[in-house]
């Protein structure tokens, strides 16, 4: 079996104007949603409490709400979670109760109302911790971007490094845009997924750039245009691209199906990251590299090394 039976290289780069326009449009909307709707940040970042409670019968959301009203807890949100027997309660930070007391107060009130209730999970985060997690998250993204850029700059050259990181950040912004538009909860686990996508989707760029460099050095392509070289590199790595992402995506789908509520948004972020990762490395990263002026001459210095390698082997 072979997915790609192409006789000629697919002229990906001739569509680059369209793809850049599409990318700008998606990017624009993502940023727009991020500003207008904002991320629905989970308690990890905002501070506050979530409690997952479970009943042997169908959870009575109204009754839970009235219980919270009775003990004078305001601005809470109650909703079903996963199954109809489970409910998720969100409580904001309060001035007069510590986070430790708040969850205990709610738990005991719920038990008084219905002793069969089971507290499955409590997550309480104080405001200072929330702020720190927020800062650490931003620092982590910055660190990953810089780290990847420096590495690619050393291994390839700065044009590839810039192109890869632009393609990558494009994916990250789009993931965030989706989360903002659909108001899916953005918590620590989703952040982990975003960072994993940063590390993962850069692979795609690395593989393509690797081929581009190889093509530049190969005698066959010495006279070819830069766009032809890039088109050839993309076409020849297409089979790998599909197989790899298909494999990763199947695992992520397994996670979506079996992973439960906690892993759900994590898997969603990965799915968006993988799909846009393929698109962006090809249709954003490569045009970017061409636009920045990548050509045979940029890699001329390393050519002698390559010859030496060939002699050695």
């Amino acid at each position: 079996m072979e997915f790609f039976r192409v006789k000629k290289d697919i002229p990906f780069m001739s569509y680059r104007k369209i793809s850049v326009i599409i990318s700008f449009a998606i990017f624009f909307f993502s940023v727009l949603f991020l500003f207008t709707r904002g991320l629905n940040l989970g308690v990890d970042f905002t501070g506050g409490t979530i409690m997952e409670v479970s009943y042997p019968q169908v959870a009575n959301i109204e009754s839970i709400r009235s219980t919270l009203d009775e003990i004078d807890i305001k601005d809470s949100q109650v909703q079903n979670f996963g199954t109809s027997k489970d409910a998720l309660i969100r409580l904001p930070l309060t001035d007069n109760l510590s986070i430790a007391d708040l969850s205990e107060k709610v738990a005991s009130a719920l038990r008084v109302k219905d002793s069969s209730v089971q507290i499955k999970r409590v997550e309480s985060v104080g405001s200072q911790v929330g702020d720190e997690l927020y800062e650490d998250g931003a620092l982590a993204i910055l660190f990953v971007c810089l780290g990847i850029m420096v590495y690619l700059w050393l291994r390839f050259e700065w044009r590839f490094a810039v192109a890869a990181i632009v393609a990558n950040l494009h994916d990250v912004i789009i993931i965030l845009g989706f989360f903002a538009y659909f108001q899916w909860e953005f918590n620590l686990t989703v952040l982990a997924a975003v960072l994993a996508v940063l590390g993962y989707s850069v692979n795609e760029s690395v593989v393509v750039f690797d081929r581009v460099r190889e093509n530049f050095r190969s005698p066959k392509m010495r006279r070819a245009k830069v766009t032809e070289v890039v088109n050839n590199a993309i076409t020849r790595t297409m089979s790998r691209t599909i197989m790899t992402h298909l494999s990763t995506q199947t695992v992520v789908i397994a996670m979506l199906i079996f992973g439960g509520e906690i892993l759900h948004n994590f898997a969603l972020a990965l799915t968006i990251g993988i799909l846009f990762g393929i698109y962006s490395s090809i249709m954003v990263g490569c045009p970017m590299a061409i636009w920045l002026g990548t050509n045979q001459n940029n890699l001329a210095v390393t050519q002698t090394d390559q010859n030496k390698d060939n002699i050695d082997s």
Partner: protein
């Protein structure tokens, strides 16, 4: 060209063999157990206890399925959860309060595996259930408290050496004392320097007053805060022991935080109460001289006479107490509830340490006929528990505190005093609780995601790459084996995001094999011989694999450095997974390929799936 030397095959077999050994404990399951530990962590348990436990259990017809004696603990395996609960009561009753008796689950893996350090993976709280607290230590208060202690010492020493001073007070962490003459100030300074040579001094002369400011140096401040954290850690350890938790984790995190993890604990309310109680016992003299109705009236209106404070006893009677603290709870070495033989009332008997005994003896000798107040400070509320008249000098450091409402209160207060006080107050700033059923659900979810993801990859790879697909899948299985073995061997905490990372690692690790297989196809397409294609395929793919793994690694390391809690769990597995996948996808899979093809002189075709060839290439 495609041959491995013997040592390479040997290395592959050795690593697989070792991994198999380290993976095995994960399959033995766990049994219900009781764990008996000494009350003070670090103490040893005597082997005679083992015999007592065994005979008591036999007496109650409780079958144990294994007794394990370690110097730090005794573990008793039992058949069912029901037996476990019964056994706990039996053991608690027979051993008294000298030991901590906790419920636990222990691995059924054979002893020889345990002895070589092969243990099941260490499950995080989200997989086994339990509570996680992050506590913020208020170091400013610790600093103020120590400053108060210094002020007390300074006063005592100056008085002892008869140096005249007046108006000694503290302002945050600065102590200020006034002297009448310059000579007094000089003498005073020498005495004070003896208390702590690291004090910084500042002398001032204002309107005939000799003012001495004593500033606590940064070095001292640092040691004070370090000591405060250390004491809080120790106190938390003791308190957790009172709770009876099998494998608690109590660790400092950062400069001023403490993480407490209590696996298996379900009663969060009780845990919070015991951990968070900042009960402090203070002994101070009642100011009898100033306790006239007028002074008390003024004190109630917020103006207590100089050098005194107003508190209420349990019957709401106002009592004027001197500000000076004679003793604090830190001097208590033991405390237990008991009953006064004469009155039949519940009391708490406490034992003081050497220094505490001396101070108490001295104070009681000098103040016969006066009242001494015992104050309990809890959650910023101070209450006079009792204020008895000193009848005679009390030596030996054994003191009875009367005035308990009932036995329960005597027990509670004794526990608090015994478990020590906190050097600085703490506040819970993060709580994560997971119920036991949730933990089991999470394990199932994580494992199912991994298994089904794995199955899908296996099908995909074999259909697409035929025999080379099978080789890749073997490489991937070996990768999974290595990863689980490594996680078990280093006992890294496995969490639900960690399980997700295992699944994701499998999905990503296959990339290396895909790259290799595609390269081999490429080489064949270019008209190379099968042997040369294998060689060139691995060779050319190597650089790309390295680059892509390093960039993934950078992201993994960032997650590890900046991530906390769930993210860290993800990062550890992710990073380890990258390392194992490099080894298995490149080194091990090459080994299999070499073994299968390397010795054959003539191969017509590689079983790597259909290769489409452009005719006029």
């Amino acid at each position: 060209m495609n041959q491995y030397s013997r040592w390479k095959y040997f290395l592959i077999l050795l690593t697989i063999g070792l991994s198999l050994i380290y993976v095995t404990p994960n399959f033995y399951g766990e049994s219900y157990a009781i764990q008996i530990m000494p009350l003070k962590s670090g103490d040893k348990i005597e082997s005679s206890v083992l015999k007592i436990v065994e005979s008591k259990l036999n007496l109650e017809n409780l079958n144990n399925t294994g007794l394990i004696y370690e110097p730090s603990s005794i573990k008793v395996k039992l058949e069912s959860a029901e037996d476990q609960l019964k056994a706990k009561t039996v053991i608690e009753d027979s051993l008294g309060n000298q030991y901590v008796v906790a419920l636990n689950l222990i691995s059924n893996s054979p002893n020889w595996l345990t002895n070589i350090g092969a243990l099941p993976m260490y499950l995080g709280l989200d997989l086994r259930g339990g509570v996680h607290f992050l506590m913020q230590v208020d170091l400013t208060t610790a600093l103020e408290k120590t400053t108060g202690g210094y002020l007390r010492d300074i006063r005592t020493e100056l008085r002892k050496d008869r140096v005249a001073y007046y108006d000694a007070k503290k302002n945050n962490d600065v102590i200020q004392i006034k002297f009448k003459t310059e000579q007094d100030l000089k003498d005073g300074k020498n005495i004070i320097r003896d208390i702590n040579p690291d004090f910084d001094f500042k002398e001032m002369k204002i309107n005939n007053e000799q003012l001495l400011k004593i500033i606590i140096s940064e070095k001292t401040k640092k040691s004070i805060t370090e000591f405060a954290i250390k004491q809080n850690l120790e106190t938390l350890n003791n308190r957790v022991n009172e709770l009876g938790v099998a494998e608690p984790i109590i660790q400092q995190q950062g400069l001023d935080r403490i993480v407490v993890q209590l696996p298996g604990v379900q009663d969060t309310a009780k845990a919070k109460e015991i951990l968070g109680r900042t009960a402090l016992l203070e002994m101070r003299m009642v100011d009898d001289e100033k306790s006239n109705p007028q002074n008390i009236e003024e004190a109630i209106n917020g103006k207590p006479p100089f050098g005194t404070e107003l508190f209420y006893d349990r019957f709401e009677n106002p009592i004027l107490v001197k500000k000076e603290v004679i003793l604090t709870g830190e001097r208590i070495t033991n405390a237990g509830p008991s009953v006064d033989s004469q009155t039949g009332q519940s009391v708490v008997s406490i034992t003081l340490d050497g220094a505490g005994s001396n101070i108490f003896k001295e104070v009681t000798r000098e103040n016969v006929g006066k009242k001494i107040a015992l104050l309990l400070i809890e959650k910023n509320l101070t209450e006079v528990i009792t204020a008895p008249v000193i009848k005679s000098e009390i030596g030996g450091g054994r003191v009875q505190i009367t005035g308990m409402r009932n036995t329960q209160e005597a027990t509670d207060i004794a526990l608090l005093l015994r478990a020590g006080s906190l050097a600085a107050p703490m506040e819970i700033i993060e709580e994560r609780t997971v119920g036991p059923s949730m933990g089991k659900e999470n394990i199932t979810k994580g494992i199912q995601s991994t298994i089904w993801g794995f199955v899908a990859i296996v099908i995909l790879m074999i259909i697409y790459y035929m025999l080379f697909g099978v080789i890749s899948v073997i490489g991937l299985s070996v990768n999974l084996l290595f990863l689980v073995a490594l996680l078990s061997a280093i006992q890294a905490t496995l969490t639900l995001p960690g399980l997700a990372a295992i699944a994701l690692t499998l999905g990503m690790a296959i990339d290396a094999n895909v790259l290799i297989n595609e390269r081999i196809r490429d080489e064949i397409r270019n008209g190379n011989t099968p042997q040369a294609s294998i060689h060139m395929g691995y060779e050319k793919a190597w650089g790309t694999i390295l680059d892509s793994n390093i960039t993934t690694m950078i992201a993994g390391l960032a997650l590890f450095m900046f991530g906390s809690g769930p993210i860290k769990g993800f990062a550890v597995v992710h990073v380890l997974g990258i390392l194992t996948s490099m080894y298995s996808a490149i080194f091990v899979s090459r080994g299999i390929v070499n073994y299968l093809y390397g010795n054959k002189r003539k191969i017509k075709k590689l079983s790597i799936g259909e290769i489409f060839k452009v005719e006029n290439n």
